[in-house]
Assembly symmetry: C2
Homo-oligomer: 307 residues x 2
């Protein structure tokens, strides 16, 4: 059994490789939900959907999020009513948010709806939201505090980050199966996701960090930072201001308490000694997932690193 902690696009690509090299039914993915938010009265879960669509092979290959061949008639029409339309929800993607929101309003938990959505897409792995409660990433910039998507999408990650907090983390409990999946897994993977806004919120859920620490020997991470830069997304604009070195070494320092092994890019081989000095074993591989074949090889290398 394999458990994986996942954010959005990077994790989705890695998981698509993983299911090529292991039985998908053996995989449980614990997905960040701190980016979730309400748009036009609909509850949107960007990371759950990115992972779902990518595992179904339906994602937009250019953006990594959203659906391939998507149209945007509804969101464009919402502008007539004065609605903010900077969060570009596609027409087919809207079906997911409509279904999810209706089921949540009927009283279903996010876990239950997620199971229904992933079944509808015929996914092999089990996807779990990190919590059925509400944790929301809040980003402080000079002008004040922003919701994650406001900073990320509306402001294009431009305002310098002063602080990050996970609103609601004190009260939220892990979704059913999350802690069990970590404790029961032969291997726990920390996908190549943003350490600050994808992995850290999962760690902030009560019990998750402790469960990972207890399985440290079996926890292997993949660095999302290659040659001092994120492959995709704003990790550098979050790690730097929070005092985290924007490098695979910085990632190792963040994860060392619960992660025995870190897979880093072959191009970062010169940093192996620095990482191992932190008490984390460093293994090199090709971590730039330019296609599904590379992703599968990376998944294989990652599993082998703790075999």
């Amino acid at each position: 059994m394999i458990a994986a902690l996942a954010g959005g696009v990077g994790a989705a690509r890695f998981l698509r490789g993983l299911v090529q090299v292991v039985d998908p039914a053996d995989v449980t993915v614990v997905v960040n939900t701190a980016d979730d938010d309400w748009f036009h009265g609909l509850y949107v879960c960007p990371d759950l959907d990115s992972v779902t669509y990518t595992l179904a092979g339906a994602q937009n290959p250019d953006t990594g999020w959203g659906l391939a061949g998507e149209t945007f008639a509804t969101v464009d029409a919402l502008a007539r009513y004065g609605e903010d339309t900077w969060f570009r929800l596609g027409d087919r993607d809207l079906a997911t948010h409509l279904f999810r929101t209706r089921r949540l309003r009927e009283g279903a938990t996010l876990s239950e709806v997620t199971a229904e959505i992933t079944a509808a897409w015929g996914l092999g792995p089990r996807l779990l939201p990190m919590t059925d409660g509400r944790i929301a990433t809040r980003i402080t910039v000079a002008a004040g505090e922003l919701a994650m998507q406001e900073w990320f999408v509306r402001e294009r990650c431009e305002p310098p980050v002063l602080a990050v907090r996970f609103e609601g983390a004190d009260a939220a409990v892990a979704a059913p199966g999350v802690i069990d999946a970590i404790l029961a897994a032969d291997t726990v993977l920390v996908c190549p996701s943003n350490p600050v806004i994808s992995i850290a919120p999962i760690l902030a859920v009560d019990g998750v960090r402790d469960a990972l620490v207890s399985r440290r020997d079996r926890v292997v991470g993949v660095s999302p930072i290659i040659a001092g830069r994120p492959v995709k997304g704003p990790a550098d604009r979050l790690m730097g201001p929070l005092g985290i070195d924007v490098s695979c070494v910085g990632v190792a320092r963040e994860y060392r308490e619960f992660c025995s092994t870190l897979v880093i890019d072959a191009g970062d081989a010169a940093r192996v000694d620095e990482i191992e000095a932190l008490g984390v074993r460093a293994v090199t591989a090709d971590t730039l997932m330019t296609d599904a074949r590379v992703a599968a090889a990376l998944a294989r290398d990652t599993l082998a690193a703790v075999a």
Copy 2:
């Protein structure tokens, strides 16, 4: 000042003619909301939207409802989640339902949201829902009771109608401005709409029928039945089973308590005496609104009938 009672497509076409011959700002339209229903967690108001889109010149000219050039990506995608998709909500139309539903959930009344929606479309006339409460047309067929859209759209008006009732009519009160508009109008128009499921629900709202009766001399209707057949829609399949003659005479009999004058099609001139024997003055005109020019002429003739 003019007040008009309106259902969907027929009323919308008539009103589009009306605003060509009077100052749109002098017109208040009281719209049937007993066809409203929830689809995919969104509150849909078919008649309000048909009137709005038609007055804005944005309606689908082929169907009379929905928007011109519409696409259906979202509703098609909802099928993946096992949702019923027989009610074909268009992608741009969905923006209206998303906006309305969000505002209603925020606590706005349907009247308030309707004012916002019609302002967004730049409409001249004032549109009022008949009530801010909930009245729902229920249609009894052999298999049981159906919601209006189930019978009308899903079942294509095929199951014979045994009974019609307006659920919630006992408790609903007229929306702000409805009674005042009727009492203050120089002329009250009963648009060429289905007497059973478009006009009767408005009459079922407490105070509306009494207000109309008190203004009977100034109330003029337009028969939606020409030569014993409805121009559009299932009026014949509702009137007949409920014992209402499917003719302009049957309409006159239904309306005579509150309507002094009925405009009927020139082709029905032979029925004038029967109508006048009911105490309703009959005026003939070209009532088949094949284009906006005919609609404008009909509106002019209708106003002249009680001038």
